[in-house]
Subunit: 345 residues, 2 copies
DNA sequence: CTGAAAGCGCTAACAT
DNA sequence: ATGTTAGCGCTTTCAG
């Protein structure tokens, strides 16, 4: 059970460890017969070189890691997939770490990953989505980035100049809102999210800008914050439906809250989209699972992941491409939105 | 940018590397003043010890990895969560690898993980769910297990004696089927899955056993295989609805296919559960997202993950607890099932 | 084409 | 309480 080493192989083959290393890595010509003999012995013992020793020497591990806030939200596995595929193409092993959106856990992983000398880190969620990231947390990222290449996805540390790729969420919100307005809706609400998060504020910004551009007056209580989960969506929608002057269309911060909104609306006996239109965000698998299928904004999660790895890879290979990469979101119209009911507001 | 080492710290502090190591690991008493000085220097340089060097020496990495087949199926992230939390409690770093259900990718990861000397591996899906696992693939697992502790989750390599924890899926199927029968359904179908997978055959077995136990004759075409996705569920359900003597209740291989089945039924103008009852499996977040909410069987994904890590941990610490651990599934009755319509069959 | 030897960064005896 | 030293398993000059 004591792991076998390159020396054991060498001894058994009657050669030096250098020669074994050479056949292992194809790093210099080796006589065919010795090569064969060595390979046979390797095979026989199922020898696998110790990557720790190798990495220690070469100062690279061939590994990159991704830190995400919530593996349970289907959006993230989707970007993971895109990232992983790209990483594999580049010959990197790809690991996922789940921060659960917990800042101290983020710090923990950041630190562990550095110690383990990963070649690069992709970072999503948590602190980089904060409208106001606490200085220590921001500082930590900046300092880390001096030791290991890191790219931020769908977030930012302002003024840090940290490389990043992101979806233009305000733009996505504009698409969604305009879609609703084009359908004749004049009273539309924004539902879900939390004010401290830039991902929320960006969407609200796009939402309000679109209202304004279309000459629709902004009603202060047409924006209802409250969270990101299905339950939150349900709660918020119930509240919305209790209001006088109830909106005929709702744009939700993500698919989760949109699903919650749909459920609440149905429980109140409303039909969708006849009585109320609902738009989500992210185009997760939930959007297709639900009846009626959800109109939503896609962030191209796969591509987002792939581009992040590509950028990271450029960083790793010393190419200093630091210009942020923005991705265009796209509206996907399905069954949860329809024309405004002209008899109402 | 050249990483700083323990020697650099030692030199700057005017001590030996051993002393620095001691304060780093609290492995022997160090005079308070020197300790302070060293810590200050460490702080100043943001020094982080190289885990590769340390692991190389100590022959352990403090890392365990989990290989899963489809991070995009919400069931798996859920077991990941349970596993990760448990791993953290035990002081292990936890990484996820996504095999995408691809056997060669599994092999690849298995190999990489061994080279990187992870302390243990948790393995889900893919080859261990095959009713007939190809001998090479089985052999690979068995040989690997001689080098690194490994636990199989919800699967098996027959006769390997490999440690495992699993949900009793046949039992889950019995629960679901009995529930339907208790509601008065006599014509019930099994929908989805693929015959080569043990996770499918186990459920069918439970399904048929329950029919038999209740004196309900088995109709050969009441079992419709075809896949695991929402789309598959939809397709299969459409086929089912086209049959004469259409069943009044359907038990689906997982939540995905159940959702697909619901969508197909609705498109055919059927009401759920008034016209047809549908049961899923896994209790993923989809079950709660959909209207009507899905009656389903839970596998306690979180616990499954936690127990796996616990078992793995015992293996790592040399405790030879190899007895398979079985988890009891549980039926969760929601809105997609109801009494059989007595006017029909 | 092959071997000897140094060293990657750290820890753990063994001294002192 | 601290320093010296010998590796952990591998790759890589430098010789031959």
């Amino acid at each position: 059970m004591t792991p076998i080493t390159i020396y054991d192989i060498a001894k058994e083959a009657g050669v030096s460890s250098a020669t074994v290393s050479r056949v292992l890595n194809n790093t210099a010509p080796v006589k065919a017969s010795t090569r064969a003999k060595i390979n046979a012995i390797i095979e026989k013992h199922q020898f696998q070189p110790n990557a720790l020793a190798r990495s220690l020497l070469k100062r690279e591990t061939g590994t990159i890691a991704i830190i995400m806030p919530d593996i349970t939200n289907p959006f993230f596995p989707e970007v993971f997939r895109g990232a992983e595929n790209e990483a594999r193409k580049k010959g990197h092993t790809f690991f996922l770490c789940n921060s659960a959106g917990d800042y101290s856990r983020e710090s923990e992983y950041l630190s562990v990953l550095r110690e383990k000398r990963v070649d690069g880190i992709i970072f999503l969620g948590g602190r980089i989505n904060l409208a106001q990231c606490p200085p220590e947390l921001a500082q930590e990222m900046i300092e880390l980035s001096r030791h290991v290449p890191i790219v931020l996805v769908n977030g930012n540390i302002p003024k840090s100049g940290l490389p990043r790729v992101f979806t233009d969420e305000a733009k996505g919100a504009e698409l969604a809102t305009q879609h609703l307005i084009d359908l004749g809706h004049r009273n539309v609400a924004f539902l879900g999210g939390l004010e401290p998060f830039s991902t929320t504020t960006a969407k609200v910004k796009g939402f309000r800008a679109t209202l304004r551009r279309n000459g629709i007056p902004y009603r202060p209580n047409s924006v209802l914050y409250g969270g990101f989960s299905i339950t939150d969506g349900k709660t918020l929608m119930s509240r919305l439906l209790g209001m006088e002057d109830r909106p005929s269309a709702v744009f939700c911060v993500n698919d989760f809250t949109a699903i919650g909104a749909i459920k609440a609306a149905m429980e109140h006996g409303l039909r969708i989209p006849e009585d109320i239109s609902i738009v989500g965000f992210d185009d997760t698998l939930l959007a297709n699972a639900v009846v009626p299928e959800l109109t939503t904004v896609t962030q191209n999660a796969n591509e987002l992941g792939a581009l992040s790895v590509e950028l990271l890879h450029r960083l790793i290979t010393k190419d200093k491409a630091r210009k942020p990469i923005a991705l265009e979101p796209r509206l996907i119209v399905r069954k949860s939105t329809g024309p405004a009911n002209r008899s109402e507001g």
